[in-house]
Point group: C2
Chain length 369, copies 2
């Protein structure tokens, strides 16, 4: 195994300087630090795996950007619960990190994690930080991305939940019920998951020769306020939809609440398909039809794989993990036939019957038989 003395001789400095460089102490010449970094990389140095100082048994739940608040009904808290369960088998501990908070100038993510004696990482990446996973994949530090996916050749390990197919099925379910004006409320962050759901929505429309109406597609904040605001806006518009697909649980909760507030009956006046990461769909009234992914399971499997891999470095079967689970579509009480008579509902709750031309006749009544 490599050690600081090897790095020192390779970089032509003392071991004290190596230690200072690797730990980002002040008063090290940037050029020297750079040389040390390169030497450390060339000998494959890792503090976490160092034999004499005790192998680390801590894995990180690392956020490529800021730590995302483990929010109510949210993906993060369910996933963390799964991770905490998943590390028990091998008795690893979990440390929650924000990668950018402590990153020193010129330091790589792998070195930051090594400095913190992290043996492996479960990584959460976002639209603008996908590259972090690719950087980490090239290093000796085992890591796995949760809820995003990469090319098989990228070398990035991941476990995600494919939601495009069930998003298509969800919209198809609405179409089968007779809906034609189907709106989409999609999270404004364009990560893989939400792009999948948008694609699934578009797939279903295309397959049924329903033209995509851009006025029915809205990027919203994944929060109750986002969902509620979209309901208000859509239902007061001159030509409201008869169904909406929300791609995240919090927006769905807010939408259902606003419907109750405005007296919009679900599903009699408006059908709603939501998205669920855990059990949220069963806690609303009515229980909402949802594309469901199991965030707890994703966290559990990521943590179990990572800790098994760390415990058995030689096991070839554990070298890579590139898995896409499937979501499932659960039909509950918020989807039904479109209304016979279309109503606008103004923000104050007054209902305005939408007359002739704005309705799409044939469809609504015929398909709903």
């Amino acid at each position: 195994m490599s050690n600081v003395r090897q790095i020192a001789s390779k970089a032509g400095v003392s071991i004290a300087t190596v230690s200072r460089s690797l730990n980002n102490h002040p008063n090290v010449d940037p050029a020297t630090r750079q040389r040390v970094f390169e030497a450390a990389a060339s000998v494959g140095y890792s503090k976490a795996n160092s034999l004499r100082t005790g192998a680390s048994t801590v894995i990180a739940l690392a956020y490529a950007g800021d730590v995302v608040r483990a929010d109510y009904g949210g993906f993060e808290s369910a996933m963390l619960a799964g991770i905490l369960r998943g590390v028990n088998e091998r008795r690893f501990d979990v440390c929650v990190l924000s990668l950018h908070r402590d990153l020193a100038p010129g330091e790589s993510y792998a070195r930051l994690l090594d400095r913190k004696k992290i043996a492996g990482t479960i990584l959460r990446v976002f639209e603008d930080s996908r590259h972090v996973a690719e950087q980490l994949a090239g290093t000796g530090l085992p890591s796995v991305v949760v809820a995003d996916r990469y090319a098989p050749t990228s070398g990035v390990n991941y476990i995600c939940c494919e939601s495009r197919i069930d998003s298509r099925r969800a919209v198809q379910h609405l179409i089968d019920l007779g809906h034609r004006r189907i709106a989409l409320g999609v999270h404004s962050v364009r990560d893989t998951d939400h792009v999948d759901r948008r694609n699934g929505y578009e797939d279903a429309l295309r397959e049924n020769a329903i033209p995509l109406d851009h006025s029915l597609v809205s990027e919203i904040v994944a929060s109750p306020e986002g969902g509620a605001g979209l309901i208000t806006r859509l239902m007061s518009s001159s030509e409201p939809p008869t169904a909406v697909y929300f791609t995240d649980p919090m927006a769905t909760i807010g939408a259902l609440r606003r419907c109750l507030e405005l007296g919009i009956r679900v599903p009699q006046d408006l059908s709603i398909v939501g998205f669920d990461d855990s059990d949220t769909r069963r806690h609303t009234f009515p229980s909402f039809t949802a594309v469901v992914q199991d965030a707890e399971m994703l966290g559990f499997e990521a943590a179990r794989w990572l800790t098994r891999r760390l415990a058995n470095p030689g096991d070839g079967a554990l070298q890579t993990l590139q898995v896409a689970r499937q979501t499932r579509l659960e039909i509950n009480q918020t989807t039904g036939r479109p209304p016979k008579e279309m109503c606008r509902v103004l923000p104050d709750g007054t209902r305005v019957l939408v007359s002739g031309p704005q309705l799409v006749p044939g469809f609504v009544q015929d398909q709903g038989k």
Copy 2:
């Protein structure tokens, strides 16, 4: 500062044996390990504070028992979010631990945390594990309990939220509206928080000379199912209450949902006061009147105090933290006057008018004027 050599000479063993003992390696004679533990305690040894190996900058969120799942709408996830925000000032990291999982036979909690190089802990204790905080308080390891309280003389640091006064005010609010048959759905775990809320309920009844009716007090699981089940049971009983106070958010959510399901109008048929740790009360319909504590703030303040204390060991002002914040009572849309005519609502939703003798005449109609 003390080191393994001091311990070795004190215990009459080699430093290798000290190291093995402190790290719970197998093949150490239990009697020897015991001697080493005692010697380590007598010289006040701490690995996390050891100068030459670098002071640890990791604090633990330690659960005295199992890690509690950071659940939907729950206290844990909001608190964790606060902790993660609170450590940023001093750039500490957070490790989530279950104290009992890795505790070796004969090992103290302080030594376990030291073995994991934890500089300080934020502790979650429960009814049967309050003693863990007292054990830790006697050691050199800084710790703070969140959401429970101890005697000032115990030496245990804590930050909690006092909910008895606002629980009393919440029930008083119901009484002021004219309610007399007020039920209580309290979490079956008898931690300080829930005992407070139960006491507040009893305080209000006593002050208003309303006899405590044990059939109206139920210990339930703090879950939507618990809340829903209680609504079904209470409302189908021969003499239903006109108001219920639920002492946790998830039970409140479930109760509101069941009311919508059974056609129980809130607050026209039944008033509900709930409890909220974050923003849940605003995500239901109707928004529920609640005793509100800010779990995120508790986590934030605990983490900020702990990390400041670790960064400034000499600062006398940071030596102890024994703080009780106040909850607040937020009146929303689920509390109103009691109904003029009392109805039982059977589990299938049928309504049965409750006639004469079972009503408490004078009260319901007179007070509601």
